[in-house]
Every structure is written in structure tokens, then in C-alpha cells.
Amino acid sequence: MRTKTIATLSAAALAVVTLGACSSPGAAEATCTNEIVKPDATQVSVWAWYPAFEDVVDAFNNSHDDVQICWTNAGQGNDEYTKFSTSIESGSGAPDVIMLEAEVLSSFSIRKALVDLSEFGAADVKDDYTEGAWKDVSSGDAVYAIPVDGGPMGMLYRKDLLDKYGIEPPTTWDEFAVAAQKLKDAGAPGVLANFPPNGRAFTQALFAQAGSQPFVYDSAKPQELGIDVNDEGSKKVLSYWEDLASKDLVAVDEAFTADYNTKLVDGTYAIYVAAAWGPGYLQGLEGTQEGAEWRAAPVPQWDTASPTQINWGGSTFAVTEQAKDKEAAATVAKEVFGTEEAWKIGIEKAALFPLWRPILESDYFRDLEYPFFGGQQINNDVFLDAAAGYKGFTFSPFQNYAYDQLQQQVTAVVVDGSTTSDKALDDLQAALEKYATDQSFTLLD
């Protein structure tokens, strides 16, 4: 009897031990993608998806004795945000420093996930950035991130295609529409441009050019939110594209799909209205048409008398509330892209557009010639002016939802034709107001 009990006990114990071994408690320390040069220094974990970022990290680690970066690529855009969001909810697992696009900063600051860097010397580096770039990372007096790269917008076009059909690069949206018609009348196999229904930030930037200021939000008063997405400017822009799409003068293909990528470079679209990271994106695509000649020009304007510059995308480094050593984390956020060495890697290997003024305003960056653009100095010709003219933007604290709703309305207008641009934006306003109320916001007039 006794032996039997012991045997049973040990069998059960063995089973428990074996199972326990499978689940292996005490997960190992997060492993870094890069090598830590100085193992005794404070380590700061960083999530980022920049191309060629390992070189930038190495440069930082080699030049810092007290702080070392431990870098992980946790996915691009929403893939990373999903992980970050989950770790905020669970209270652990977030990195110390995280790469975030400017447009999602409010969505995370309202969840108290980001450290206000004004307490950690953000003011010291404020002058290194343009006013517009700094506004994108601040909310009232608080500073939630340090700007890294931007997306001032321009117009990339196929010189060979426009020349073939005798079209001058359009400087206004009226000329743009005329050019689209001319291209179609000439029987060109492609169209002038694409208006992606899932443009989201792209669409919002075009709206902003006509005066749209969709949100009023200050993290000091996190319960108050102003929403104005059905303004005259936005309606004008959407109805402009609705008109072009209904006449088949522009394509309405979804962006960032394999089909779209091919069409970008095979001559289907003669013009790519793009951000400063667009040239890098184009060069990374395969199947470029032979004889393609790309050039860059300023983005078309509604009113050439008072040109308005716009921005699409751009990213920042924020310090999370879960950071163990916030001081060290803030140092990383401020300094990782705060040297010429880092920026030469960023510009030449990752095709980033710098917001750090020492390099942004340098002769090196201005005079840089791009072989892809036939040696054109695209920064000097287009993007530096666009960056200088950008005044900053306020996003909502639920930007992902706002974009999803915008995308559904734009799809209904330009793809399905099931609604008109005016009604779509009125519906969008109602939907966002309802959501904001559900989320306990007080609506500002």
C-alpha cells in the first residue's frame, strides 16, 4: 500500500515537472538584435523599424559609455502598435524607447503610456527642430516624443511619360485635372495618378492643404476634443477626386498592395503624389519600366498665391512609462538621431528625410544629387521648401478609428459611388462625434 502511494506520488510529481519544463518559466531577458559594446552600461531597449537602423545603433553605442541601446524590430506601423498597446494593457513588456509615427502619439499619451519629456530636458533639443516638427510631438506644454524623420510632400512624376503626351508637370490642382483629361484623350494606357481609397494619412494631408483642421486636442485637458471633419476644404478636396475618379481620369487602387507597387513603377501612374520618403519607397520596388525617368516637383496647389505645404507620415522616438531608467531612455530618444554620422546613414541607406536641423539645413543635404531622379537635387528643388512651410498638425486620441472610418467613407465615394463626398464627410463627422461621446469625451464647438 505504502509503496503504491509513493509510486503514484512520484509519477504525478514527474508529470508535473515534465510539464513545467515545457512551459519554461522566467522568460529570458529580451535579446538584442545588435551587439552591446559596453556590457556594464545601462541598457535601454528600443523598438524601431527604420531600414539600416543597426548601423545607427552601433554608432550610438560606440560613442556612449554610460548608455547602450538594445534594439529590436517589433514590426512596422500597426504591427508594432498592436504589441505596444497590448503591453500597455498588461502593464509589462513595453520597451523603454519606442518608434512611433507622430499621428499616434495622442492615442498613446491619453492612455498614460508615454513620458512627458519636458521633464527630461526636451527643451534642450527643441531648437534642433522646425516649429512644425516640434508641434507634431507636443500637446500644449507637454512633449511626448523627439522628432526623427518627416514626410513633407511633393510630386514625383515620370518625365518621359509626360513629355510623350506633351503635358507640363501641373503646379495647381486645376492643371492636374486638365492634364489627367489630356492623358486620357491621348489614349494613354495608364492614368495620370492614383487616389488610394485607403490613403488615410495621405487623404488627410490633401484635406489639410485646403484648410482642414480636423481635431482640437490638448493632453492637458484630455477629456475635451474638438472634431471638424466635414469642413468646406475637405469637402472640396474629396469632391475633386470623386469627380476625377467618376470620369476614370485617375485610378482608385488600394495603396501598399502588390498590384499597387507594380503600377507605381510600370508606368500605369504617370504621377505619384508622395512624401519625402516616397523616393526611397519607389527605389525599393521591383519591375521598374525601362527608360523610366523620374523627376520631383512641388505638390500642386489650390491657390498659388498662398501655397500650403503638407506632410504625410514621419516618425518620432518616445519614452514609455514602463521605462526603468527614464533619464537614460530620454537620452537615447534625444541623441540616437542627433549626430551627423547617424543622419548620413539615415539619409543614404534608409532614405529618411531628417527633421534634425543641423543636417536638414546643411549644404550636404541641400546639394545631394539623386541618381534615381537623373541627378536632380530633389531636396533643394522640392522637399526643403515643403518641410520649411509645414506648420504642424493635431491628431485625435483615437486616430486609428478615425482613419478606419475615413477610409470606409472614401471607399464608398470613389470606389462604390454609393454616396457623395458631402454626405460621406457629414456621416464621418456624425460617426466620430458619436464615438467620442461613447469614449466619454466632451465635444468642443
Partner: protein, 309 residues
Amino acid sequence: MTTHVIEAVDAPRRTRRSGIERRQQVGWLFITPFLIVFAVFLVFPLGYAFTMSLSSSTLAGGTQFVGADNYVKAFTDPLFLGGIRRVALFAIIMIPTQLGIAMLAALVIDSLSTWVSKLSRLLMFAPYAIPVVIGALMWSFLYSPRFGPAATLFDLVGLQTPNFLAAGSIFGSLVNVVTWQWSGYYMIVIYASLRAIDPAIYEAARIDGAGGLQIATRIKLPMISSSMVMVITFALIGTLQFFTEPTVLRSIASGSLPPEYTPNMYAYALAFSYSQFNYAATIAFSLGILVFIGSFGFLFLTRKQSGLK
């Protein structure tokens, strides 16, 4: 006096019970490993999710206990109800299609006895061996207007190529992906139960003058009804939880597939895109309840066929 009698009666029973108890304790020991895993990975998460579903958390207002309010909201939420209606429609169209194909193929393969049977069995089963995500990704390229073979095929016969990813046709495209992936699996299940039928019964039927078609419809089908019930139950649960294929196709057709396309996608979007974890838990639980009612109801209705009664 009375007390003594009671004690006398009770005494042996107590010892017997304690003997059973001891044996039961040993039994519990043996299933402890399972119980731990069961509790940690099933009971605890379920309880946690249920607790979450009873609170409401808003961006500007913080978290507060709201009881069943979230459930009232869920069952009046047009996005959730729309998703439920959509998966119900999927179930009505998709399950009979898959089952029809699976059954037909199983009956044909069962009546063949050559290498053709073995080969077609393998070929039909092959799609199931492909991971769902890979299968959906592959179809996303086949549906692509630019890379897909459709343009070439339709050009050959002089027709205009349909857009498989447009809002009006995405439903059919999804039905096609799922049918392609799962019919083979269901066919194998049905085929296996067909093989389990005693061939003597066919012989008897043939002596009674039954032809091939009659044997199939009068003997084979009634005799495999229990595995048919199982297959339909699987298909029903899978369809109500529809998630992977539309999520993968969303990367190339996000206009036709809104984030709330199916209830599971809605729960995912709520939790991970809109950080409404509490309401997402409610949606997930509500879906779980509906799946339970749906599959339980189906099993109850078919209790005669399945032999569960």
C-alpha cells in the same frame, strides 16, 4: 440505546466511504497535470475575460464596473449584429457547398478501387495540409487583377475580367477559399466512415437488386449520418468564428473588408486597433455564447442521426 444502533449501522459504511475517498484522491493526483494546464490555459483566461467584459473602459473616462451593460450594448450594436448576420449567411452558403463537394467526392472515390482513387484522395486532401494563412495569401495573389491568371483566362474567351476583390464579389471569393481548403478534409472524414461500413451489406443490397446510385443514397448516406453531423458541427463552429481568411485578404482589399466584417475580426479590431479591451472581451464572449447555442442546437436537432441520443 438508539445511538448505539445508529453507530453500529454507520461504522462499516464510514470505512468503506473513506476507502473510496482515498482511491479518489489518488485519481485526482493522476489528473493534476491536466487540471493545472486546464486551469491555467482555459479556466483562468475565460474567467479573466468574463470579468473584463463586465467593466467598461473609455479613453477619456477610465475603467468602471458596468455589469451586463456591455452585453446589452453588444446585442444592440449594428456592427456586431451585422457581423453575425454575415457569418450566418456564410454558414448557409458555405457549409452545404463544402459538404456537397466532400460527399460527392467521397462517394465517387469509395466506389473506385484503382490507383485513381488513391491519387485523387491525396490531391483533394492536399489543400488542407497547407496552413490557412498561406492558403489565403496564395489566393490573394490568384485574385489579384494584375498577377492572377484570371485576366489571361477571361481574355481568351473574350469576356471582361471580374474583380474578385470588389465589395460585391468578395463574399463569393471567400466562400471559394474556404471551400477549397476544407472540402478535402471533410471528404477524408466521410470517406473513412464509408470504409467502415461492412461490405456484406452492399452484397445483400445488390442481391436485392439495388444499383450503384441506390446503394449510395439508400445505404451509404444513412449509415454515415453520424460522421456527417460531426463534420457539419465542425464547419458550423469554424464558420461562426470566421477570421483568418478575411483578415489575410484585408491586406489587399481593405475597402471591401471593413474591420468589423466578422464578429471575431470586430473583437480583434476593438482590442488591438481601438484599445477597447473590455468591450472586445464582451464581443468575444457574446460570440462564444452564440457559437455554443448554435452548435448545441444543431446537435440537439440531429441527435437521432448522430447517435447521441
